[in-house]
């Protein structure tokens, strides 16, 4: 048998003409959507929330699109292809957060807020301190998530077109800035919907083609993997060796989903709580199905591409496994299609992140802190657009600094910050009458600072990046410490201060949370 990894490698280094055509088709199509959306995007409600006109099903697709990022598709497939079963731990963790969003967060969020989740945290508290703190938490989460997406996007284009990593990262940054700048939420939503359909369709075809080489039987695929390696590929194993690491990662993945600003923001684009629910149901189903597909894709890549080819060219994270597999099973044409879809995925997710970052800066910081809540539509959109450009440049710089990290792992860190900084204050403000401004600020500051410091002291940064001999903090993921600490800080801060107005307003909040009366 000819070792297929050789084929994969040769084609990857040549310029794939079909891929370039697909790439341009997708860019032109999405820019056309942006142009169409731009004509409808004049107000702040349009820019941030697509005029709240998106249906539950459409929003479900868009949520799935936002969530099925480069990390899911490239990162998890890569991780499964290199580590086997352990990749599944990530996909399960990424999915189980969704039911919690639905049970605890989605409806209150829809009914209480306007554009950002800080609206909910600050609903009955003092605006300025809470806004500053929660906007900082959002922006930190967004920064880490952006790193993962930019790194994935950069290495993908490098592989496809043979241009340098630096140029690739700049292209991703520039195109996505254009989406956000001109089309706002409406453009991004439709880009997400189209991309979600293409991605799920493409992944399905990929799995069918992979299974066709194993008699259309998933068990035969497992058998082949066990024969090639041993039973350990379908057992939990090497990657997460420390039990506390497993628990910490689990916490971060599950509760981080409920603290991701760009996901939470989507709930404002539907008309009411009922549609918000429906969108979570649709999204969870699609994402779950997709994760099952990525698991097969990972195994397919492990067998049909091989470890050496996946990690060739210094890609130690295995981010290119899915792309190489598409070449091995469908030839360069199919690879072009899959690569273009993966590229669209990255663009769309990065654009969604940037929009939520921009809304955090303009809506939370500019309007509610600097302008003290005086609404001014024109300057708000203007500030949001300037913030978009700034974030685009920051995204490019971050992408260049963090070259070569596994994107699923980087996203794991983003989730740890989201779970520690954003989720505790959000949950406490929805559920606890005696939550106060001080409690909220303490909780957010503790969660974000602690998770960031522990990440720096962890083996990943302290040893791998700074080349120290041993890590000061033993866990790879900080959530096990920083998440409970954020809850405790919120509790102590609230107990040490009293805010009768906030407690009184809790009853108003409750009526609005549950009935949707007075919601925007």
């Amino acid at each position: 048998m000819k070792p297929s990894w050789i084929i994969g490698q040769v084609v990857a280094q040549e310029v794939n003409l079909f891929a370039i055509i697909m790439f341009f088709v997708i860019v032109v199509l999405t820019l056309y959507i942006t142009y169409w959306a731009a004509k409808k995007t004049k107000t702040t409600a349009a820019f941030y929330a697509a005029n709240r006109n998106i249906t539950g099903f459409q929003n479900g697709l868009a949520l799935a699109g936002d969530y099925m990022s480069a990390a899911s598709f490239l990162g998890i497939a890569g991780m499964v292809s290199l580590k086997g079963f352990d990749g599944l731990i990530y996909s399960i963790g990424f999915l189980v957060g969704w039911p919690l969003i639905m049970f605890l967060i989605a409806e209150p969020l829809r009914n209480l807020g306007k554009y950002t989740f800080s609206d909910v945290v600050a609903f009955r508290l003092k605006q300025r301190p809470v806004r500053i703190a929660s906007a900082t938490g959002s922006l930190m989460t967004i920064a880490f998530y952006l790193i993962a997406q930019m790194v994935g996007g950069g290495s993908l284009i490098t592989k496809l077109f043979g241009i340098s990593y630096t140029t690739s990262v700049i292209i991703v940054g520039a195109v996505m800035t254009a989406y956000v700048l001109f089309g706002g939420m409406l453009a991004i939503t439709w880009v997400q919907i189209i991309k979600a359909i293409l991605l799920i369709g493409g992944a399905t075809v990929m799995v069918i083609l992979t299974l066709s080489q194993f008699g259309y039987n998933p068990i035969t695929l497992c058998q082949a993997a066990v024969e090639r390696f041993d039973i350990s590929v379908i057992s939990p194993g090497s990657y997460i060796s420390n039990p506390w690491d497993a628990i910490s990662l689990g916490l971060a993945l599950m509760l981080g989903t409920a603290g991701l600003p760009h996901i939470l923001m989507r709930f404002y684009s539907v008309p009411d709580a009922k549609q918000a629910r429906k969108s979570v149901f649709v999204a969870t189903g699609l994402i779950g199905y997709f994760y099952i597909l990525t698991f097969f894709i990972g195994f397919g890549a492990m067998l049909l591409v091989g470890h050496e080819a996946i990690t060739a060219g210094g890609d130690k994270g295995g981010n290119m496994a899915a792309i190489l597999l598409s070449d091995a099973i469908g030839g360069p044409g199919f690879m072009g299609f899959i690569a273009a879809v993966a590229f669209a995925t990255i663009l769309a997710v990065v654009a969604g992140l940037t929009l939520s970052g921009a809304s955090s800066i303009s809506h939370d910081l500019y309007i509610n802190v600097i302008k003290k809540g005086m609404p001014d539509e024109r300057s708000e959109v203007k500030i949001a657009k300037r913030a978009t450009i700034t974030l685009g440049i920051i995204a490019i710089i971050l992408g260049l600094i963090f070259k070569g990290q596994n994107v699923a792992f980087m996203v794991g860190l983003a989730f740890a910050i989201a779970a520690s900084a954003n989720f505790p204050s959000l949950l406490l403000s929805i559920t606890w009458r005696n939550f106060t401004t001080r409690g909220a600020v303490w909780s957010i500051v503790t969660g974000s600072v602690l998770s960031l410091v522990l990440i720096i002291l962890s083996p990943t940064v302290w040893v791998d990046l700074f080349h120290n001999s041993s890590a000061i903090f033993p866990l790879k993921n900080p959530a096990l410490i920083s998440l409970p600490a954020a809850f405790i800080a919120g509790y102590i801060g609230s107990k040490l201060s009293s805010e009768p107005e906030a407690a009184l307003k809790y009853d108003d909040e409750k009526v609005r949370t549950h009935l949707g009366v007075g919601a925007h």
Binding site: I92, G93, S235, K510
Partner: protein, 83 residues
Amino acid sequence: MVKQKWQVSLLLTFLMLIIYFGFILLIAFDKEFLARPIGKDLTIGLPIGIGILIVAWLLTGVYTWWANRVYDKQVDELKRKML
């Protein structure tokens, strides 16, 4: 009514937490259990893992079904009374 809504939400939340952390704790402390082979070339961990993905989705379905059939009706009634 609000109490009932939180009861349903919390019940489902705990169910999800128990399932997920049950799985994580197995990975953390009893890897052999998940590595136990079933049949010739499968481990018990595989169907469990994929099962969790499906159960998570079914739980969101249960909640949506409950909220649409029971909760929304109560909300509408209450709103009518208030107006």
